[in-house]
Amino acid sequence: MTLDTSTNQPGDAQSPFSGQKPEFPVMRPDYTQDAQALSKSARKRQRKNLAYGLGFLAPNILGFLAFTAIPLVIAMYMAFTNWDVGMHNNPERREPLRFVGLENFIRLIQMPQFWQYLGNTLFFMMGMPFSIAGSLFAAILLSKDLKGGSNRTWTILIAGAVLVASTLMLVAWGASGTAMAMLIAGLTGMILIGGTAGGTTVYRTLFYVPHFTAGVATYLLWKKLFVPDTGPIAAAVQPVLTSIEGVVRASPPAAVQSGFVICMLLGAALIFLGLGRLRRYWEDGEIGAAGVLLSAALLMVPVALVGRWYGFDLYAEDPATGSRSMDLGWGSIWLLGSTALILVYHILRALRADHEFVEKRQPWLGVGTGLMFAATVMVAVFVMIGLGPVFHNLPTWATTGDGLKTPAWLADVHWAKPSLMIMGFWGAIGSNNMLLYLAALTNVPQELYEAADIDGASRFQRFWSVTWPQLAPTTFFVVVMGVIGGLQGGFEMARVMTQGGPAGQTTTLAYFIYKEGFETGRLGFSSAVAWTLFLMVFVVTLFNWKFGNKYVND
């Protein structure tokens, strides 16, 4: 670089010294000659750096191309062909690949198994609200600072020590019959002591254990935990069931069966509250008409299915005694009837709303909010519908046969899916979601809490009005990832724990893809299933992004 040492001329508009005699020559870089040399060397250097960068990235890029991008493109092509290992990978008799258009997709839609496996996949996803709540709860717990010195910490430490000492004494006295109780007591004690000594770090590490434990190892462990009758879970649950059995036997059957009525009432109440909340969202201009309708429709799903599950028989006849008793059909009638009334009530209330304001709204506004809310309430209604028959049948179960026994878990067609959901719940609590919430909790501005305190907010109000809204972006991300993971998931646990059984109850779409592709060799059809799954994930994600994101940013 050379310098132009010419002086500034008076009247030079660009000179800062215009109109003044310059005291020093103004240094002006002359880039004309050096710029070329500079840019040449810079470009050379840039090219060199690029070559290095690409060279080092090459293994990764090549791996991505070879094992992800190109197979993806091929799989998309395969989905529209009749690709079959037997016909098209046969070294002795290679046949031309045939384009079949949408045939594979149409066949898939016509397959009852596809709907069953999709239903299984969605069933597993119903655990998501619980998982999110669990990870949030864990994150809130772990965000508390636990340091030694306080009275509470000393209490915890002493409790832990007592538990460990008790366990050791039981072992010393040969009390092997209570192995499970000892194990639980000992572990609890150890955790309490460890947590007290190590502070929050110990608890955070412990809670995060499920995430970095290898999947297959976890599944094998849970398979052992779920061993019927003699497994640890059965051993822990059976005493509880025995106690319940005692209570049920001692109570009049009608009293126990009233639980069914309570469940139905609660179910209707949830629907009432859910629709009410949706209506208020609508009245406040937070949700448009489409959002309300879609959310309300989602909320109606359990009601639409209850007749199929409960039937419509009002009375059941005991073949032995000929006596008649209330049957589950009452539940169907009640839920359908009450829901109809609730709907009418809310529609009438809605009609009285500010129409002028309503008309200005965008119809798709807040769809994500509404659906997320409705999905959560829907799961709660499902839980009520599931619990109802338990209370209804409890007196019969408790007084006949062997009484109340733990189910066969993974071997039971009715319990296989819930068992896997329980396992998933355990994994989800200590997952990345917990870490995300933990990080998000530290970002909540303290001023908001202080303002809430000044306003005299209770703990719950602080959470509901400050913490929860502030966590909305994280919740949105967690939900999106959960939905994607949920739709794609279930392969390992099905393969390791149940082989998709019993009776296909734990076969998810991911496992179905594997079975079709590798057990029967129909790669074209299997690819069609995979791309159908991708389409579902894509649509749901797009929906989440389009509507949920707005809600989060708002």
Partner: protein, 598 residues
């Protein structure tokens, strides 16, 4: 940073070259072939025997090493640990030379004659999973020899073209179908477009399933020993007496009469099969309904049940070792921990029982007192026969050499080793007629066991029932799913059977529709041919029924020619009923062109 990455890349490249140089193929002058098989300690000995057999049969490379320089070059060419071991094993006279290869101070005189088998066999136990074999096979990197489990694998691998037709080699090297059990034919061979039987594999071992009886368990519960053959009625009567006596006073049933019974054996005993005579359709008739009902009764009904269901099985948390939980439960003496009186399995379980007997002896317990009985029957006594067979990978560069291994499986040396190990039945039934098989001197407690298995393989065993138009695994998956749904109370018995039949037949029609789109359909002409044949068979069956209804003997011309029937069960069953016209199955009389469904 870039220099660090560069250094890592250089180190990895050097390591890759070194690894490649140490690869068995480059460290041995004879080709190396891989046997994809299960993890079993006996395989090492079988590999050793194979190398020795190759040399004994004259399939070797001979070197006359005149001096140290030649010996040095020879051992440099053969530097892998495994080939050195083989040299030592097959050249007992050259032990000093082998020592010299490791330690040059050892004195050795030249010339030395050294023989090497024409091929080095290595075990690959990491890729025995069926999916792995298929993926590697179609990717042209499959093992040279692969273990196959019965006709299921045979048909799938044939559909994908991964197994080699060894028919001619089998005749030349004497491992053709005449050297093994007739009943195992559907598991080893298929018919080609000319109707000729083509062989694709040869058994490593053969298994005819029977019930082991733990006599001590019966005595423990005060029950009489079961006879060798029983009708289902008698079986149930004895079974319920057994479980009532064994479980009396217990809150939970822990003792079962039997661990399991193959559904197909039960169905056949009622006179039914999954497919019709020609395999053109699934016929899940009354026999299937009865078999499912019986299975349900045994597993789910009553205070005490004969057979454990899936939940019972899961609750036995003793699944470990060869044979799994069933072997443990069958063999121990404590009813509280669970017990079986009868154990449905094959002779190969003797490997486990021998280990258990050693453990029992160490604890001062007597050896297991074992007997063997046949499965119960209603109309037709039968059992299943299966095999772990070896096939030669069609894309192997060493197919000819790998074929020697199949010949080795038919050899005296291999068969005697199977007899000695108790690893199911030897491939050649001749070796079950020896004293070494029937009365092994080291195991006198087993003398009642060996012969019933051998007799069952010859007298009452039936191979699998297959259709050309649906993969066995697909048909089995459909049926078992509907069986599960019935057992779980999600479907009625009749409904489950009807749905299973409909779905299997839909799959058959789907395969045919796919085939119709080929320029030259393969399955459709065969299907049409077989459907026509089925009509003829059905017409003959009607006439047979008329004869029977009228109390007349069946005339020879109204009997069903054996060559018309594809389904192994129907051949055996109609022979049993006297409905079969025994005609030699030859290519000229065999109109069936056999291929497998895709």
């Amino acid at each position: 940073m870039k220099y660090i990455f560069l250094a890592i890349a250089i180190v990895l490249t050097i390591a890759a070259f070194m690894t490649a140089r140490m690869a068995p193929d480059l460290a041995s002058e004879v080709p190396v072939i891989y046997w994809v098989t299960d993890t079993n300690p006996a395989r090492q000995e079988q590999v050793r025997l194979f190398h020795q057999w190759m040399v004994d049969q004259g399939h070797y490379v001979e070197h006359v090493l005149q001096n140290e320089q030649e010996a040095d070059a020879f051992f440099h060419r053969n530097r892998s640990t495994s080939i050195r071991r083989i040299i030592r094993e097959v050249n007992p006279d050259a032990a000093a030379l082998c020592d010299w290869a490791d330690d040059r101070s050892v004195q050795v005189t030249f010339p030395q004659v050294v023989r090497l088998p024409q091929v080095e066999l290595k075990l690959d136990m990491a890729n025995a999973d069926g999916t792995k074999k298929i993926i590697q096979g179609v990717s042209r990197v499959g093992g040279d020899i692969m273990d196959q489990y019965s006709g299921h694998d045979l048909r799938y691998f044939r559909a994908v073209g991964l197994n080699t037709d060894v028919t001619e080699a089998a005749h030349r090297l004497k491992f053709d179908l005449s050297t093994t059990y007739p009943a195992i034919e559907p598991e080893l061979a298929l018919r080609d477009a000319n109707g000729e039987l083509r062989q694709y594999q040869y058994p490593c071992n053969v298994n005819a399933s029977m019930f082991f009886v733990n006599r001590a368990t019966f005595r423990q519960h005060g029950q009489p020993l079961p006879p060798e053959r029983m009708t289902i009625e008698e079986f149930e009567r004895r079974g319920y007496e057994f479980v009532h006596a064994a479980n009396a006073g217990r809150a939970k049933q822990t003792v079962f009469f039997l661990n399991n019974l193959e559904f197909e054996v039960l169905r056949r005993s009622y006179g039914g099969s999954r497919f019709n005579e020609t395999g053109t359709a699934a016929i899940l008739d009354e026999a299937t309904v009865q078999a499912m009902r019986t299975q349900h009764k045994w597993m789910y009904e009553g205070r005490y049940r004969l057979m454990p269901n899936q939940a019972d099985r899961s609750s036995f948390a003793t699944e470990s070792g060869y044979g799994g939980a069933d072997a443990q439960l069958f063999s121990h003496d404590d009813p509280e921990r669970g017990q079986y009186g009868l154990f449905w399995t094959g002779r190969y379980l003797l490997i486990t029982f021998r280990q258990m007997n050693e453990a029992r002896a160490a604890r001062g317990l007597p050896p297991l007192d074992l007997g063997v009985i046949a499965p119960p029957y209603e109309k037709f006594l039968n059992t299943s026969i299966a095999t772990r067979a070896a096939m030669v990978y069609s894309q192997s560069p060493h197919r000819d050499l790998a074929t020697y291994f199949l010949a080795f499986l038919a050899s005296k040396e291999y068969n005697e080793q199977i007899v000695k190990d108790g690893d199911a039945l030897p491939p050649n039934p001749i070796y079950t007629e020896t004293e070494a098989y029937r009365h092994p001197p080291e195991y006198p407690m087993e003398w009642d066991v060996h012969e019933p298995f051998a007799r069952a393989a010859v007298d009452i065993s039936i191979g699998g029932s297959y259709s050309h138009f649906i993969l066995p695994s697909v048909a089995e998956r459909i049926e078992s799913t509907w069986r599960d749904r019935y057992h779980a109370g999600m479907e009625t018995l009749e409904g489950a059977v009807a749905r299973a039949q409909a779905e299997i037949n839909e799959e058959i029609q789907r395969a045919l529709a796919e085939d119709d789109r080929r320029d030259e359909p393969i399955l459709r002409p065969l299907y049409n041919q077989l459907v026509e044949r089925q009509r003829q068979i059905d017409a003959l069956k009607e006439r047979i029924q008329e004869h029977l209804a009228a109390g007349r003997p069946i005339p020879e011309e109204d009997k069903i020619p054996e060559a018309w029937i594809q389904n192994a069960f129907h051949i055996a069953y109609y022979r049993h009923l006297g409905w079969l016209k025994e005609v030699a199955r030859s290519p000229s009389t065999q109109p069936i062109t056999a291929v497998t469904a895709n």
